[in-house]
């Protein structure tokens, strides 16, 4: 258990979602264990002792966005409702505690909220996330909340501007210091097409790791595959893209075997993309700016309310198509394949990006980098336009 705590504490720092020195985990085996920054570790242990749960992560996010969302929330609100797919599907909402609600001992209040949800934002403290089954699950829930609050905050800033003292300065620091140039420089990709299964497994694992390391997806999410003849080699469900060795399923296209029952929930989408021909590699990540931009729609008076599910249009962001559709059997697999067939890239509303490669993963990876960079540029262009050029009108709030 201590090894697991060390591993996931290191991951929170490597993906830059937590502030250095402000991370703690607790676990209960037959006895409690806590590690990390002393105050947070104590809090993690105190909260965990009140819950039927194996692990607990407490960390201060590397960005103040979650706290800003709490401070921007109207009086009487008790939860953040990010509109992205991860939240809708897995988190539902993110309850929060304001600083003045904490009192002397915050643990009982945090535990009460964690008794109903996977994670909580505690103003001035950070994100507190539980893991019912594993330490990894606490890490995943922390990551999901960091991702969801990031996306929500960027959307809110675009729609409403800066409203709090110090907010603009913090945002500028985020843009200047936290955001890094995104590229594929220094990464080695195999020349395709790959024909040896061992080579395929190695390349899929390597590119999965690249995708996490370059911030195109949080460790636990996304998926990746390669088609070799009539077999799709695809990452397993609930696999971390940066730890794919032993977690790649070879799935025959004729369904002669069901060992692929553990394959990614997007197996169907991958298969349909391959059926359209000419593609050997598929990469799916959740780059944050693409997720943000996919939810901005300029259309006025549209009758569709549940855009993430019901929008049947193919919108364009630059030359990248955006389609709607829920995970797995929820519609994404129907809408992405026709949209991606030409451009080799597509964004799914509030969810993430699919890209393809005809010869190898280099094409798919670079396409995803380009999509995210394009979305990043467009986001800041719009921010400038909406809030520094008062003659421009702002978009409809996304649903």
């Amino acid at each position: 258990v201590r090894d697991q705590i060390a591993k996931y504490a290191a991951k929170l720092l490597a993906d830059r979602s937590a502030a250095p020195g402000r991370v703690a985990f607790a676990a209960q085996d037959d006895a409690p264990i806590a590690a990390g920054e002393a105050g947070l570790a104590r809090l993690a242990g105190d909260v965990l002792s009140r819950l039927s749960c194996l692990g607990m992560a407490v960390a201060q996010p590397s960005l103040p966005f979650a706290d800003f969302l709490v401070q921007r929330a109207a009086a009487g609100e008790h939860a953040i409702l990010p509109p992205d797919t991860e939240t809708r599907t897995f988190l539902h909402d993110i309850p929060f505690l304001r600083r003045d609600e904490l009192g002397g001992d915050a643990a009982p209040k945090i535990a009460a909220l964690l008794g109903t949800r996977k994670g909580v934002v505690v103003e001035g403290v950070g994100i507190v996330a539980g893991g019912t089954v594993t330490i990894e699950q606490a890490y995943i829930n922390y990551s999901s909340i960091f991702h969801a609050t990031f996306v929500k905050y960027l959307l809110d800033v675009l729609a409403e501007g800066f409203r709090l003292p110090g907010e603009r300065e913090a945002f500028d620091a985020f843009r200047r210091d936290w955001l890094k140039p995104l590229d594929a420089e220094g990464l080695a990709f195999r020349e395709g097409p790959l024909e040896d299964p061992a080579e395929v497994l190695d390349e899929v694992a390597t590119v999965g790791r690249y995708t996490v390391e370059r911030g195109l997806v949080d460790s636990f999410f996304g998926n990746i595959s390669w088609r070799l003849g009539d077999t799709v080699y695809i990452s397993q469900t609930a696999a971390s893209l940066d730890e794919l060795r032993g977690c790649i399923d070879p799935v025959p296209s004729d369904n002669s075997s069901t060992t692929g029952i553990t394959a990614s929930s997007e197996l169907l989408a991958h298969r349909k993309i391959y059926e359209s021909g000419g593609v050997r590699a598929i990469l799916h990540g959740h780059p944050k700016f693409a997720v943000v931009m996919s939810m901005l729609c300029d259309e006025k008076g549209c009758p569709v309310k549940d855009c993430w599910r019901d929008c049947d249009k193919v919108r364009l962001l630059g030359d990248t198509p955006i389609v709607a559709g829920e995970i797995g059997a929820g519609g994404l697999a129907r809408r992405v394949p026709p949209a991606i067939a030409g451009p080799g890239k597509a964004i799914v509303y509030g969810h993430g990006v699919f890209t393809t490669g005809r010869e190898g993963f280099a094409e798919a990876f670079r396409a995803m980098v380009a999509v995210e960079n394009g979305c990043r540029e467009e986001y800041f262009r719009r921010l400038r336009l909406y809030w520094e050029d008062s003659s421009q009108s702002r978009p409809e709030a996304s649903s």
Binding site: V1, A27, Q28, D29, D30, L51, S52, C53, L54, R88, T89, F90, H92, A111, L114, G115, T116, R117, K118, G131, T132, V133, T134, E136, Q137, I140, Q236, T237, A238, A239, C247, V251, N255, S256, S257, T258, T259, G260, I261, T262, A263, S264, S265, L267, L268, R271, E326, I327, G328, A329, G330
Partner: protein, 580 residues
């Protein structure tokens, strides 16, 4: 007025033929929910009785979600004490029977007594009658169902239940089994051939918009789950989708657990069954998953455990013979896992596993307790002891192990032992995370953290069995979403944590009953084979024997986490008094 529950128990005394409706207090329902929890609570005054004592209740209990459009919730639990294991026993079953029982205005049906002659219990809304069933006695399940189904949904026993086969099942008219622990024999001892139930009472939902949102959240998670709605998942192939996976993971029990790979298992895989039988989707009332598969002219097709145990465990690769064995068990009213596992143990003991063509007659002999069948009707533990080879019974607390070799999943090894009803995969269902990667994967070859994980999962599944929902839902959804559904239906606020606390009370109550009947850590034991013999290693996967010392260490942790003494018993003899 309560929402979600009727607040009514129907009590039947078969000795006198009398019946009465009794109120169940709202506090009791809120605390024990329904299904397994309510059934276990209702046994508090009877758990020391012999399973065949006339006063031993046989409880059919539905849950607060039953009757609503809550996904996978048209289920019930049947609760009593098992004649096979001697433990408290419950079994969850789907079909339509539970839905009809709820529609009759009943949360729980408690049957006691012993009729002097075979009878059928008819419930038609408020009307209740106990009617002679001499003509149906001795008849297979399908005949009883056909004779009675115009009166509503039927739950019946077959010849095995009538003759006290210790793993006799109760079958619903749709082919869903109340299986494993022999509650069909308890029903048979009461000379109750069948129950027919119908009703028209609608279930109430306290907060419909909240319910609808929670339902949508759950369906979204189902669609996101490759195990449920994936192209290779159980909605498409049923649970036999696991055949190929267990082969690939090298943990398919073969030849009475001597091996863990059966090379010809592809003959009865999910795709093979679909192709051979043109299998169509089928399932419980209102269930969106439809994981049951059936075929024209055959009826229900076998589940994973059944194909694997009538297949690999007995060294049989003939799909049609396996399907016939499943159908025979359903007609005779016997549990397929225990029947197949008992045959396998007997096969190993005599030095030859039964041939495919021998299985059908053997099953018939077991159900009718003829010849060798009389010995086998007592299950593998008693049969192996009688043959002088007790080590060949692959069971825990006399319940035969299902088709997940514990050497291939250490959480499963632990969970078989801590299960309050004996060697069952469904109490903690660690296959979900150790093999199917839900909600997150765990290392199947490690005991690390497993005691805590098993404890939490047992509590969670006790809740699931009390709602009553299907465990397959939890390949996608979690208690978070089902707590929302429950709160919306009942108007009482529940959350995952408060539900797990209810689940803990259920699990501890069951364990307390068992301990009061003499169970302790000495019964939380796997057969020695798993600590002494390796499984079938290969293809880069090692299947060594389980490390006995590490297993013991983790079992000790489990007891501490549960607040039990080192021998797995309770320090406080008045434990039950602290519970509602």
């Amino acid at each position: 007025m309560m929402s979600g529950w009727h607040g009514t128990l129907l009590h039947i005394d078969l000795s006198s033929g009398a019946s009465r409706r009794e109120p169940i207090s709202p506090d009791l329902l809120r605390a024990w929910l329904g299904g397994r929890g309510l059934g276990v609570r209702l046994l508090r005054d009877a758990f020391r009785l012999d399973p065949f004592d006339p006063d031993m209740p046989l409880v059919f209990a539905v849950g607060p979600l039953c009757g609503t459009p809550a996904p996978t919730a048209a289920r019930m639990s049947v609760v009593s004490r098992s004649p096979l294991t001697g433990t408290i026993y419950d079994c969850s079953a789907g079909g339509r029977f539970a839905h009809r029982l709820k529609s009759a205005g009943i949360d729980a049906l408690r049957i006691v007594g012993e009729s002097p002659s075979p009878v059928v219990l008819r419930i038609a809304g408020e009307a209740v009658s106990v009617e002679p069933a001499d003509a149906l006695w001795g008849r297979p399940v399908s005949e009883a169902v056909r004779a009675l189904e115009t009166g509503g949904s039927v739950a019946a026993i077959g010849p095995a239940g009538e003759r006290g086969v210790l793993f006799a099942s109760i079958l619903t008219g749709e082919g869903n089994a109340v299986g494993r622990g022999g509650l069909g024999a308890v029903m048979g001892r009461k000379r109750l051939k069948a129950i027919v139930v119908d009703g028209a009472k609608a279930a109430s939902i306290a907060d419909r918009p909240r319910f609808d949102k929670a339902r949508q959240d759950i369906l979204r998670l189902f669609k996101a789950s490759p195990v449920i709605f994936g192209e290779l998942g159980i909605s498409e192939y049923g649970t036999p989708a696991l055949v190929d996976l267990m082969r690939q993971r090298r943990m398919a029990p073969t030849e009475n657990f001597r091996k863990t790979v059966f090379e010809r298992s592809g003959n009865y895989s999910g795709p093979a069954i679909r192709k051979a039988f043109d299998a169509r989707k089928d399932g419980c009332f209102g269930c969106p998953i439809q994981c049951k598969k059936s075929a024209k002219g055959v009826g229900p097709l076998p589940e994973y455990e059944t194909v694997s145990h009538f297949g690999a465990l007995n060294g049989i690769d003939d799909l049609h013979a396996i399907v016939k064995s499943n159908s025979a068990c359903n007609e005779l009213g016997m549990d397929t896992i225990s029947a197949a596992a008992t045959l396998a143990a007997w096969g190993e003991a005599r030095g030859r596993f039964p041939l495919a063509e021998e299985v059908g007659p053997l099953l018939d002999d077991i159900a009718h307790r003829r010849g060798e069948g009389d010995l086998l009707a007592q299950g593998s533990r008693r049969a192996c002891e009688a043959m002088g080879v007790p080590g060949l019974s692959m069971s825990v607390k006399s319940l035969e192990l299902p088709a997940y070799d514990p050497r291939g999943a250490y959480g499963m090894a632990l969970a078989y032992c801590t299960s309050n009803r004996g060697g069952c995969h469904l109490r903690a269902y660690p296959i979900s995370h150790e093999i199917l990667r839900k909600p997150v994967p765990t290392d199947r070859f490690s005991f690390s953290g497993k005691a805590r994980i098993i404890k939490i999962a047992e509590d969670t599944n006790a809740v699931v069995d009390s709602l009553v929902a299907c465990k397959f839902s939890f390949f996608g959804a979690t208690l978070e979403e089902y707590a929302e559904l429950l709160s919306a239906v009942t108007g009482v606020e529940y959350g995952p944590q408060s539900l797990k606390e209810l689940g803990e009370a259920i699990c501890l109550t069951e364990r307390f009953y068992n301990c009061a009947n003499g169970f302790s850590s000495k019964d939380d034991r796997l057969p020695a084979r798993f600590f002494e013999e390796p499984g079938s290693s290969g293809e880069g996967i090692e299947i060594p024997p389980i490390d006995a010392a590490r297993f013991e260490e983790e079992l000790g942790k489990y007891y501490r986490i549960r607040g039990l003494r080192d021998d797995g018993t309770f320090a406080d003899p008045r434990f039950l008094e602290g519970l509602p």
